[in-house]
């Protein structure tokens, strides 16, 4: 295990050096096709490490518990630091952990370890848990740059086709939205019970859709999910404005495949529990004799 902790420590030092030289990780640079190329490269490296593991002992080590446990420990410690510091766009390295090289590299190394053990082991519950996590982690991270989150401010009776991205720049959409009616219901104390937008969507292909967007009930149109985001809070129930969020995430099916695999893996974990315990018991018996 000492070796594992030393390697993890080395990765963190490399991360710190990178942070000093090139600055924080620029995730937006990973937009398609860069993320696709990086993913292929990453998988190739893992496969190469796996195939060369018999010749090079250091590579074999990557797929062991002695490598995995220290890495998980480093990941927990770094994530605790993240949980204890306010995450803001400005501030120290620790305030933007998601772009902090040591944090990113430790998680990448964890993905490498996952990749190595996936190639080695073949029982299904094990694969569901480990491959599911590998798939969800890598595709969520690499796909993040391709995710679009736009705000569309709609007014009753007006047709809107523009939306603002996260940097406040105006984007023209391939669909238009007309707010027919803004619905607001409140509790007796005035707090919101429901707010929703009756809208008419017109797509480029000429489809006309009449629908209602509620909080927790987004509408999906041609790869976009439309969410009820906000309204004119000063006007409250009388608001004539509704703010919609339009989200597109082309990598979502891959992430969801990973999530569903992990769900199935959790069911297996509940049913079968620890399958290796008999092996362990034998080992401990051997030791004590």
């Amino acid at each position: 295990m000492k070796k594992g902790f030393l390697i993890g420590g080395g990765i963190i030092i490399i991360g710190l050096i990178l942070e000093l030289i090139v600055g924080p990780v620029k995730w937006e640079a990973f937009a398609w096709p860069v993320n696709g190329i990086v993913l292929v490269g990453f998988l190739t490296i893992i496969l190469a490490l796996f195939l060369l593991r018999k010749k090079i002992p250091a590579f074999r080590f990557i797929g062991t518990y002695q490598a995995a446990i220290p890495t998980l420990t480093y990941a927990v410690v770094l994530t605790i630091i993240m949980g204890l510091t306010k995450q803001t766009s400005d501030g120290t390295w620790l305030n933007s952990m998601l772009t902090f090289w040591p944090f990113v590299l430790i998680y990448v190394y964890m993905a490498v370890i996952l990749g190595m053990v996936i190639l080695r082991r073949h029982d299904i519950p094990f694969l569901l848990n480990h491959f599911g996590l590998f798939l969800a982690m890598t595709t969520a991270t690499l796909g993040n740059a391709d995710m679009q989150r736009l705000m569309m401010i709609t007014n009753v009776g007006e047709i809107e086709w523009r939306a603002l991205n996260q940097n406040g720049e105006v984007r023209e959409m391939s669909l238009t939205v007309e707010l027919k009616r803004f619905i607001m219901e409140t509790y007796d104390d005035g707090s919101p019970k429901r707010f929703a937008s009756e809208i008419q969507i017109l797509t480029k292909s000429g489809k006309r859709i009449e629908t209602t967007v509620d909080v927790n009930k987004p509408v999906e149109v041609e790869g976009w999910k439309i969410y009820q985001y906000g309204y004119d809070t000063q006007m409250g129930a009388m608001s004539q404005t509704s703010i919609l969020e339009l989200v597109r995430d082309p990598w979502l099916p891959a992430v969801y495949t990973g999530i569903y695999m992990m769900l199935a893996g959790a069911v297996c974990m509940f049913i079968f529990g620890n399958k290796k315990k008999n092996v362990n018991r034998k080992l401990s018996n051997c030791k004590s004799q």
């Binding site: 518990y65 420990t73 949980g83 969520a140 707010f195 989200v247 509940f270 529990g273």
Partner: protein
């Protein structure tokens, strides 16, 4: 109409049933243990259901409401573990813990108003929180087991495996709770994972338990270290559950803090 004021009657009845169940388990009166524990569960669950109806929403929003579920799930987890592995002490343990949570709710109930903000009105709400509460209950059992084994000089292999079983069940539920949360977050907030403080601490807790189960697989591991790891994991779980409400890093930034409204 059943309200919070009636809780004490249900609570006393449920706890009495569970005490009889715990005693019966010690005395190896299995049938009696099952019957009384389940009767206690029915009593408490009928209160939860009545609250659900009178509040016109699932009672899952405030800390007091989640404690209600927690005190329901502890004996439920206890009876499942009892039926599976026949540990005669488990029902005493689950009864004591459930009693503690019931007392907290009796002496420090939190306001149970009717409002439920739109963000929480979702079919995901109940499964997400209920599955998590069940996980917390089972992992709480494993933490107490760890303390018990650490106090004793040398834990038996069978006792360590018993602890492992609890962690596997707890971790399975925790994983489901977390992933249900991710699927819900996509529907409610547009993204399945946003590193909100609650999510960050959920990841921390999840990884901490992963360390435990991986470390236990290591043939050369030290059982006492593993047990300490389990206690630390449970402390992290507490931060995730209610501690973040007091952490300066998450106050005002977490979308998961609902009870203050």
């Amino acid at each position: 109409m059943i309200t919070w004021e009636h809780f004490i009657y249900f609570a006393i009845a449920a706890v009495l049933f569970w005490i009889v169940g715990a005693w019966a388990a010690w005395k190896k009166k299995t049938v009696l243990a099952y019957t009384t524990t389940i009767l206690g569960l029915i009593v408490l669950f009928s209160f939860i259901l009545s609250m659900w109806m009178s509040l016109e929403r699932p009672p899952l929003r405030t800390m007091g409401e989640t404690r209600l579920w927690y005190s329901f799930f502890l004996p439920l987890a206890g009876i499942i573990v009892y039926s599976r592995w026949k540990y005669k002490w488990i029902l005493s343990f689950s009864t004591i813990l459930a009693f503690v949570f019931i007392c907290v709710n009796l002496f420090k109930p939190e306001i149970h108003d009717k409002t439920l903000m739109p963000a929480l009105q979702s079919p995901w709400f109940a499964p997400h929180v209920i599955v998590y509460m069940f996980a917390y209950a089972v992992l709480g059992a494993s933490a107490v087991m760890a303390i018990f084994l650490l106090i004793r000089k040398k834990p038996l292999i069978s006792e360590l495996e018993m602890t492992d079983n609890l962690v596997y069940v707890g971790l399975a539920f925790m994983t489901v709770g977390m992933l249900f949360g991710a699927l819900w977050a996509k529907e409610a907030w547009g993204h399945y994972w946003s590193w909100d403080p609650k999510e960050t601490w959920a990841a921390i807790t999840w990884f901490a338990y992963l360390i435990y189960i991986h470390y236990r697989q290591l043939p050369t591991h030290k059982p006492r270290w593993a047990l300490w790891g389990l206690i630390i994991s449970f402390v992290l779980l507490q931060i995730c559950w209610w501690g973040i409400n007091y952490l300066p890093s998450s106050v005002g930034t977490s979308v998961h803090v609902y009870s203050s409204t």
